[in-house]
């Protein structure tokens, strides 16, 4: 329950940061925070109370946690790193071209 509320709070915080901040690097950080909220939501959906990790080495019976959301989150984390590298290189290029990172300034410079 608490985990779901924290995940929703993180996603809302990330979207609010993406909408209201004006620095491009801060927008990328807000995107990363929203990503983290999505990972937390997926992992919390797959949790079972009293379960153990889905690994058969040293397994002693009992319920297991759902392994499918963990695999999907594992893929999503690497894609998040790729998006971060790509976005930061784009921002560096924008700074070299325009000399500023402010979004409203960027719109005013060239139509």
């Amino acid at each position: 329950m608490m985990v779901y509320l924290t995940a929703f709070a993180l996603i809302m915080l990330g979207i609010a940061g993406m909408l209201f901040r004006r620095n491009l690097l801060k927008i990328i950080m807000a995107l990363s925070v929203a990503d983290s909220g999505a990972y937390l939501l997926l992992i919390a959906i797959g949790y079972r109370s009293g379960g153990t990790a889905p690994i058969l080495t040293g397994y002693e019976g009992g319920p297991m946690v759902d392994p499918l959301p963990q695999a999907l989150v594992l893929t999503a984390i690497v894609i998040g790193v790729c998006v971060l590298i790509m976005a930061v290189s784009l921002v560096v290029n924008v700074y070299r071209h325009y000399g500023t990172l402010d979004v409203s300034e960027l719109r005013r410079l060239r139509g």
Partner: protein, 147 residues
């Protein structure tokens, strides 16, 4: 090139790099038995290389040729697709090494088990470490205000 940190920082970074590399290789090769796998081990190895980059200054990235990293990433991707298309008689990701008892076909839980999965771990780990390292090297060398 001027030295960015003192000699102590460089020596300690070189010392801990050994443990980071051993830990990353352990995570990659035991990916089918314990927590870990190709992605995690590749990211750990990339973090070790980045520690080297930070401790020795960013001009350290010039010493490693860029074509080597591109070739390693391409080799990883091609090996992954070839391993996936080995069982093309059945379907694309059919694990023929495990079902036909060709190689890596011991009992579940032993080291040489899992069929194509340890080899896929190796190739994906190679791909991830080469890709992230080349991206970081490019970001630390190029761009910026024409230094």
């Amino acid at each position: 090139m001027t030295r960015t940190f003192s000699r102590i920082v460089e020596t300690v970074a070189d010392f801990f790099l050994i443990f980071i590399i051993v830990f990353g290789i352990y995570i990659i090769t035991h990916g089918h038995l314990t927590p870990g796998g190709g992605f995690q081990g590749g990211v750990v190895l990339a973090a070790g290389i980045l520690l080297l980059l930070v401790a020795h200054g960013f001009s350290f990235a010039r010493k490693i040729p860029e074509e080597l990293l591109s070739d390693l990433e391409a080799i990883g991707g091609i090996a992954f697709i070839l391993l996936a298309s080995l069982g093309f008689g059945q379907s694309f990701f059919y694990n023929i090494l495990w079902h036909e008892k060709l190689a890596f076909a011991e009992q579940v839980g032993r080291f040489f088990s899992g069929g194509a999965i340890p080899l896929m771990n190796l190739s994906v780990g190679l791909k991830v470490v080469a890709g992230i390292t080349s991206g970081m090297f490019a970001l630390s060398l190029f761009g910026g205000e024409e230094s």
